[in-house]
Amino acid sequence: MSARKARIAVALTCAVVAVGTGAGVFILKKDAERDAKAIGELNRKIAAERQRISELRAEWSALDHPVRLQDLVERHADVLDLAPIGAEQIVTAGRLVTAVRAKREEVSE
């Protein structure tokens, strides 16, 4: 009799373990699938975003092109009143200080 009980117990344990692992693997797989989908989606979004960035960079380069800027500056010359920088406008900080000092003395006199 005890032998039979033991056998039933073994069978039951086996069944429980089998169902348990089965269910575990199933859940694991579903999780993995969901993650894979999420990763794929993210990858796609990253690729799209990168594409968008490179499009924007290209657009910026087209907008920032000196030909276009020069054209705009010339067209709106009366408002902007811009002129190319001349060599005499570029000075070292030291010279600037001297010039400002000289100017101040001039004013105070």
Binding site: I39, A47, R50, Q89
Partner: protein, 554 residues
């Protein structure tokens, strides 16, 4: 119960069956577990179409400040597989909310058909693509194509080149990039869309490039010239900062490049550059020790060699010093100096200056110079002042940078190169002492000689003019000229070398002359006054008060 052989056999079979079953389920079980544990990355997102993966990508090309000169643009096209659409009404309703330009009736007709494939809309934007994708309608998909776009346009056409319909580089640096292993990467499937590739950085400065091109355009119009070339080199590293050849072409319309007039004259056009070559003759005369700056050269009478007579354009008819030979651009004096150098040494110097072979650079385009086959005395004389031998403007610019930068030469480059790297690849042409003398000659010529109109206040420009008569049907025509101006700034320690070549200029309105001093030199001045601040060259005034006085009034 007795054990019989029969029983034994049955028991053995049962055990065998159990073992087999366990083994099979074991295998299935392990496989299930491994599948469940596989890293998710192996599964691609559902929206990625297989075509996305095979489209080859190219790296961006950017200038030295990061401005994009060439990039890939992806254009997605929306298609439908009507057979796989489950709910046509729902699909039509959703699609028209995102793409209102669709006509619901014709859309419904398209989607209700039993076809396997139909285009709905070509070339939709990335934002629209995203929104259609988010609708999640089954049976809709995207195919995307890569198109090369050049935001730099015509300004950099000759440098970046262009690609063919298969996105393979066929001209300019695009072709070079292919040759550097991009093709191999693409065929291995490593260079694909969506993967970031390191951009290719160039030495070109788009702002400088534009300034050079803009001034050349003005010069071309002002002097009604056929063509114009401008080159700006970093004298210390031979990096090409700008290179423009007009007329040029827009790489976004590659068909234009087939027009022969639009070829890159800076590297594929060969010209007899005339007097700027005297720079090199004087450099070799000084370096080989046959002459000193104050030596006297007889330029009283035209030089006669065989049946040829060499005379001067601005004839002084007196004995000149070597300095004066340069200042007055005396053909007679230069020829006499070249003959002192001698045929063999002259050729050796020219070879070291890179003038006897194609100028190596990253650009696939490049012309060989036209070098005379035989080299008699008359060739020694004519080559000394730039006739009888044709080189590309790039040859002259590089050689010019070499004799001015302290005497070292290296091939020009479009990829960044530091001064340390330059030291590794450079070879010596002339001694630093002689290079200093050439700089003095350039300074003198800009102060008192033909380069006066190239002066820019504050930037100490030095230069040499060249006015070459062009050969028309075998004889030199005196009304067709090729003018050039080779300059450097700042002259005491040149950082940049510029070369401007103007093809067949006419006198500008209100001017009588069309020699280089009247067109190529002022064009150079305009270019330098625009680009020097961009290139962070510090202006310097000898008197030191020009700036202060000016500041006071502001």
């Amino acid at each position: 119960m007795t054990d019989t052989p029969h029983d034994d056999g049955a028991r053995g079979r049962i055990i065998l069956i159990i073992l087999v079953c366990v083994a099979i389920y074991g295998v299935l079980g392990t496989r299930l577990v491994t599948l469940g544990l596989t890293p998710a990355a192996a599964v691609a997102g559902p929206a990625a179409s297989p075509l996305d993966e095979i489209q080859a990508a190219r790296p961006d090309i950017i200038d030295r400040n990061g401005e994009v000169l060439a990039t890939d643009l992806v254009r997605a096209s929306l298609y439908a597989e009507p057979r796989n659409i489950l709910d046509v009404d729902e699909a039509v309703e959703k699609l028209t909310t995102v793409l209102p330009e669709f006509d619901p009736r014709s859309l419904r007709r398209d989607l209700s058909s039993d076809r396997g494939f139909t285009w709905l809309k070509r070339e939709i934007s990335a934002a629209q693509r995203e929104r259609v994708h988010d609708l999640g309608i089954p049976g809709l998909g995207f195919l995307s194509e890569t198109r090369r776009f050049y935001p730099g346009g015509s300004s950099v056409g000759h440098i970046v080149g262009h690609v063919n319909i298969d996105n393979a580089g066929i001209a300019g640096l695009e072709k070079t990039i292919d040759g550097q292993g991009l093709k191999a990467l693409q065929s291995l499937g490593l260079a694909r869309k969506g993967q970031s590739m390191a951009p290719v950085e160039l030495t070109i400065d788009l702002r400088v490039q534009h300034a050079v091109r803009d001034e050349l355009l003005r010069a071309k119009e002002r002097y009604q010239a056929k063509a114009a070339v401008g080159i700006v080199l970093n004298a210390k590293t031979m990096e090409v900062v700008a290179m423009s050849s007009l007329p040029d072409y827009d790489p976004n319309q590659p068909a234009q490049s087939l027009d022969e007039k639009r070829m890159n004259r800076a590297m594929t056009g060969v010209f007899e550059l005339g007097s700027i070559m005297k720079t090199f003759t004087l450099a070799m005369a000084l370096d080989s020790g046959v002459a000193n700056l104050n030596d006297r050269v007889d330029a009283r009478t035209p030089l006669v060699i065989g049946k040829h007579k060499i005379s001067d354009f601005h004839a002084k008819n007196r004995i000149l010093t070597v300095q004066e030979v340069f200042k007055y651009s005396s053909n007679i004096g230069t020829a006499r100096l070249a003959m002192l150098v001698g045929q063999e040494r002259q050729r050796a110097y020219l070879k070291r200056l890179g003038m006897m072979a194609k100028m190596p650079s990253e650009l696939p385009e490049g012309a060989r110079p036209l070098v005379p086959q035989r080299w008699p005395k008359i060739t020694v004389a004519t080559v000394s002042f730039g006739h009888g031998m044709s080189v590309t403007p790039m040859h002259a610019a590089v050689a010019g940078a070499a004799v001015l930068n302290g005497g070292t030469i290296a091939p020009p480059t479009f990829y960044p190169r530091s001064e340390a790297e330059m030291a590794n690849v450079a070879t010596r042409v002339i001694s630093p002492r002689v290079s200093g003398m050439v700089r003095d000659l350039f300074k003198l010529n800009a102060a008192e000689g033909s380069g006066r109109r190239a002066r820019v206040p504050g930037y100490r420009v030095g230069g040499k003019t060249g006015t070459a008569e062009k050969v028309v049907r075998g004889v030199y025509a005196d009304d067709k000229r090729l003018n050039s101006f080779l300059a450097a700034f700042p002259m005491d320690d040149p950082q940049f070398v510029t070369l401007v070549v103007i093809d067949e200029p006419q006198p500008a309105e209100g001017e009588q002359y069309a020699t280089a001093g009247w067109n190529a030199a002022p064009t150079t001045a305009n270019i330098i006054s625009r680009i020097a601040p961009m290139l962070s060259v510090r202006p310097h005034f000898d008197d030191g008060v020009g700036q202060l006085a000016d500041l006071g009034t502001r």
